[in-house]
Amino acid sequence: MRNKLTSLQDAIALVSNDAVVALGGNTLHRAPIAAVHELIRQHKHGLNIVKTAGAYDVDILCGAGVASAVSAGFIGYENVFGMAQLYRSAVEQGRVRANEHACYSVIAGLRAATQGVPFMPVNAFALSDVPLAQGYRKVADPYSDEEVYAMPAIKPDVAIIHVHEADADGNGRIYGSLFEDVLMVTAAKRVILTAEKIVDGATFEAQPELTSISGFMVDHVVHAPRGAHPCSCHGIYDVDLAFLSDFSAHTQSPKQFEEWLSQHVSSAKC
């Protein structure tokens, strides 16, 4: 396979405005934050962010004006820091559209894209106002006429996944929780891996069963140590509560947030 190593700047430069962008990880864990910050530095806009459950990643992209839609099941800091204020006000003020999902319906949409079919039946929403609000439709089983909700395919233009180890071919190892990262890889048109560590691919031969993402499905590999910070990266670093606490305190006013962004993101080298 060809060498896919590139810089974070070059990989992110290929993300077009208005792209559908799937972000790996879940809530405060193994989100591809180095790439998220670079999206902000490159002043992307109009992105539709796809995620099952997001936190800092989605919140800051909404605050920075990068996201214009969020397709997810949950956006929040769990019980750790209360609501995602930037996301919340962006939605309430009409700057961001919340495409409400049930996590599983995001998965269903990604499955449809992975499998090259226009929709995926999903056993969800049986007793919910979400389908009406979002325009989700039912489909009848052609054998039994039983009705089930159909999720339209979600085909991200790019999936960005943070992994523990990657080689130049794009093979990636994730230790601990996988979340829905592999499904995002298969569903997306283009895949960027950011990796804590770049390793010689030969080291994967001893235990290919441990490779989570197969290189032929990956387009770009970026070396990004601590690339999930302030989120956790299983076995390497924990959630940075102090950093997030400081961030959270600066999301109460636009001015404070601008200052925080300029100090922690815009001027930062990645």
Partner: protein, 241 residues
């Protein structure tokens, strides 16, 4: 007097059965504690599932985020959230813990939004975090146990403003009482020690049939209290209060 942070997880644990599969999602410290408590007390063969993809983790310390790698410790296998949703969708998940910003008489929950002017759901008055997996899990899991650390008429409403989902709700555990769904409606099953039945009525948004004869939630036993201290020595669950 027993406080809610002690009683609620103990009551939640009592509802769990040995051998069943039990799932909690994001933002679920009390279910995390309740499951570990039940495994220690009466349900050692309970299968503990969560978003990290672990099975029966043995955390060295309890995390504040319930998706934390700490909940992956000592697991012997790894699945994805997709696998857990599938499990529920095909009818094989026994029990799920879920919650709601609003919970109504029929056990419907709202985790999505408070609609804006004219009922606008796309420009809501309040955007809530979202139901996470609730709208998939609650209608398909064999039963759902709801919990909430606040019991007032803004939370326990006659009818949710937006129905994130209804489903197979079995019990609701609150700081005041345990509600049980009977014929599709939530009824008070037991009132907690030291709680006045009038208070339960006043702080619930629909009419609940309670009086001084309503059964009382049993006090925590010494064994339960000791187990709770062992499971959550740092009182991590207090972040829910």
């Amino acid at each position: 007097m027993v406080t809610s942070d002690v009683l609620i997880p103990i009551v939640m644990a009592r509802l769990l059965r040995n051998g069943e599969s039990v799932f909690h999602g994001v933002a679920s410290p009390l279910p995390m504690v309740a499951i570990l408590l039940a495994k220690k007390l009466h349900a050692p063969d309970l299968v503990y599932l969560n978003i990290t993809g672990s099975t029966d983790p043995v955390p060295a310390h309890l995390p504040r985020s319930t998706v934390d790698p700490a909940l992956f410790a000592h697991t012997r296998s790894r699945v994805t959230l997709t696998d857990l949703f599938d499990l529920s969708a095909r009818g094989k998940l026994d029990t799920a813990f879920l919650s709601g910003v609003q919970i109504d008489e029929h056990g419907n929950i709202n985790m999505s939004l408070i609609p804006g002017d004219g009922g606008d759901v796309h420009r809501p008055k309040v955007r809530l975090p979202g139901g996470a997996g609730s709208a998939a899990i609650m209608p398909t899991a064999k039963r759902t146990i709801l919990w909430r650390t606040k019991h007032d008429a803004r939370t326990f409403v006659e009818r949710v403003t937006f129905r994130t989902t209804g489903g197979n709700v079995d019990r609701v555990v609150t700081p005041l009482c345990v509600l049980k769904r009977v014929n599709g409606a939530l009824e008070v099953e037991t009132i907690h020690p030291d709680v006045d039945s009038e208070q339960v009525r006043a702080q619930t948004g629909w009419y609940v049939d309670v009086d001084e004869r309503t059964p009382r939630t049993p006090e925590p036993s010494d064994e339960e209290l000791r187990a709770l201290r062992e499971v959550d020595p740092d009182d991590v669950r207090l972040i829910e209060f």
